[in-house]
């Protein structure tokens, strides 16, 4: 197993280098490159620009620049935001919790509802329920998330008045209940896609497990169906879902971005859009790198957890 983990770690390091190379390339692709901030300032002579470029090390060979940038990336020096001169990492850090809370709550919904729908679909394969769940999942995956958010706001905030139309807290009210009330809408919208994906994978994972010998053995030795399904089948069917969680991280992050923009949820997605609006490239690039690193680490963690919980992995 340690060999497997080491190999997996090595792969992730290679990926990290590649991801950083892409990020570096994108910075230089940006209009004006890293100098954009200064070229837009009126009254800048080309001599000034050349001096700033020299100060920033932009006249050095690209590999040297990359190395310098990569070194800073690792030690957490991600530059300063154009907008308020705050360190990029601090700006991002202050927006991370809101996004994580949103992602975690919608993942919980997905795990609860998705597992139930998937297991039931697998146990009653080809039934009306299974059929409707399949179509439902496909439609859910086809709905534009941002539009679904608008529809939810229209139905639950405008028409019914049950939910607030956006934000995280009502002004002057900072209670947990108020927060939860604001969380329902965006969590529901983000959960739509995650539930659809989770239930589909749960269904096929459950189908795979229930066709295996040990489940038949459990049934044959007279265990109640309930025990067979929950203790034997479900426990094993849930294992590959750990990997799914890792694999779905980019989708979840993208979905969070979309949801946050509709519900003005103050997370990374909002920050990303605001920063693009202000052409605040350091923050934009920082967020891009941050999410990519998050995905990288998420995948690695999922694989390691899987190896930890599934003894069969240790064999190879």
């Amino acid at each position: 197993m340690s060999l497997y983990l080491l190999r997996r770690l090595g792969q992730s390091l290679i990926l990290l280098v590649l991801v950083s190379l892409i990020g570096f390339a994108l910075i230089h692709l940006a209009p004006g490159g890293p100098l954009a901030q200064f070229t837009l300032t009126p009254g800048m002579s080309s001599a000034d620009l050349a001096r700033i470029a020299h100060q920033m090390g932009l006249d050095r060979p690209l590999p040297v620049q990359y190395w310098e940038w990569f070194r800073r990336l690792l030690i957490g020096d991600w530059g300063l935001s154009y907008r308020d001169n705050q360190p990029v990492l601090a700006v991002i850090g202050s927006h991370v919790p809101a996004t994580l809370e949103l992602m975690i709550s919608s993942t919980l919904i997905a795990v609860l509802i998705g597992t139930w729908v998937g297991v039931l679909g697998a146990l009653r394969r080809y039934s009306i329920f299974d059929y409707l769940a399949t179509i439902g999942a496909m439609i859910a995956l086809s709905l534009p998330t941002f539009w679904f958010g608008l529809v939810v706001i229209y139905a639950f905030s405008v028409k019914l008045g049950w939910l607030p139309a956006g934000g995280m807290y009502t002004v002057g009210d900072g209670s947990l209940l108020d927060y939860a009330h604001h969380l329902i809408g965006p969590a529901m919208v983000l959960a739509l896609v995650t539930v659809a994906i989770w239930s589909r994978y749960m269904r096929s994972s459950m189908l795979e497990v229930t066709s295996q010998d040990f489940v038949r053995t459990a049934t044959a030795k007279g265990l109640p169906r309930r025990v067979v399904i929950i203790r034997h089948a479900l426990r094993n069917a849930l294992l590959p879902m750990i990997t799914l969680m890792g694999l779905q991280l980019p989708t979840l992050l993208g979905g969070a971005l979309v949801t946050e923009t509709i519900f003005t949820w103050p997370g990374m997605g909002r920050l990303f859009l605001d920063s693009i609006g202000y052409r605040d490239y350091p923050v934009v690039m920082g967020l891009l790198m941050f999410t990519a690193l998050l995905v990288l680490i998420g995948n690695l963690t999922a694989d390691m957890l899987y190896a930890l919980y599934d003894p069969r992995i240790r064999l190879d």
Binding site: P31, M138, L150, V151, I276, T291, A292
Partner: protein
């Protein structure tokens, strides 16, 4: 897409009676999908010639007309423009971008996957690790970053959407080509002295085409979704050229007074995306035996 691996479970459990019902239902869904797409293409293609209203004609006196009551079938927007006419013209743009971005992403993804799968070794690993690396970036973040870099035109929007949608195709094609490369017919072609290019394009790709067609169909759906989102945010197709996404631009503002401004274009996007997803899923079922190359 994500349903891909979820629906390949058929081989795991022995078939039962319900399988027939399900196959039929799926094909009916595919048929519904195909009909929806044809309907949308026709509506966008010839609709504007039938509709008496012009999509750019501003009529302030008759703005915010609700749908289904007046002479404007789907109502009018905040400038009094006919919603149906706008929807049809927007359909032209959105569907065109969807198809064009699909073609680009499929072409690029297939070439990368083909080269990686055929040559393998160092070239293959480098290319496929690159694919892995690009996949680490959530596609919407990548797309919006690129959209902030470029001048938004029909062409650039199409290119950047394709730039964020080719990676899965590469993975798919690489796996197919790698499996096909060692099969007898490919080995025979090598023995006959066919050039690499000949083997790839004449022998391998035709045998992997089923998977590519399925991916292509699903990629249209995805491209339409991505276009609508960045246009909704104002970084995609620029007004006055309408797209389904940018019709939703100001919709949130009028959600209380004129909800149809938000609901109608969104329904069109949903219809198109669902249509392509249904069709792609049905195609995968129909082409299933050839998808399995092992």
């Amino acid at each position: 897409m994500t349903l891909a691996s979820a629906s390949t479970d058929a081989a795991v459990v022995p078939r039962r009676g319900g399988r027939g019902l399900r196959r039929f239902a799926r094909h009916r869904l595919a048929l519904i999908g195909a009909c929806t797409i044809v309907f949308l293409i026709l509506a966008a293609g010839i609709g504007p010639y039938i509709n008496p209203y012009d999509d750019l004609h501003i009529d302030i006196l008759h703005r915010f007309q609700p749908p289904f009551v007046g002479p404007h079938l789907l109502g009018t927007d905040q400038l009094g423009r006919d919603m149906l006419a706008r929807l049809e013209m927007a359909g032209r743009i959105s569907l065109t971008v969807g198809f064009a971005a699909m073609l680009l992403s499929i072409a690029f993804g297939t070439i990368v996957g083909m080269v990686a799968g055929f040559y393998g070794g160092l070239i293959g690993s480098v290319l496929m690790r690159l694919v892995d690396a690009v996949l680490c970036f959530p596609s919407i973040f990548l797309l919006l970053t690129l959209a902030a870099f470029v001048e938004p035109t029909l062409f650039t929007i199409t290119v950047i959407i394709a730039a964020t949608a080719w990676m899965e195709v590469s993975r798919l094609v690489e796996a197919q080509i790698r499996a096909l490369r060692d099969r007898d017919f490919a080995v025979a072609a090598v023995a006959l002295g066919a050039s690499d290019r000949m083997i790839m394009f004449r022998e391998l790709i035709p045998n992997a085409i089923a998977a590519v067609i399925v991916a292509a169909t699903l990629n249209v759906a995805r491209a339409i979704l991505l276009e609508s989102y960045i246009s909704f945010l104002g970084y995609g197709i620029q007004p006055p050229v309408p797209s389904w996404g940018n019709m939703l631009n100001n919709a949130q503002e009028y959600l209380v007074s004129a909800p149809w401004l938000a609901i109608i274009p969104g329904a069109a996007i949903t219809l198109a995306v669902t249509g392509f997803n249904f069709l792609g899923d049905g195609l995968r079922d129909a082409l299933d035996p050839r998808l399995d190359v092992r």
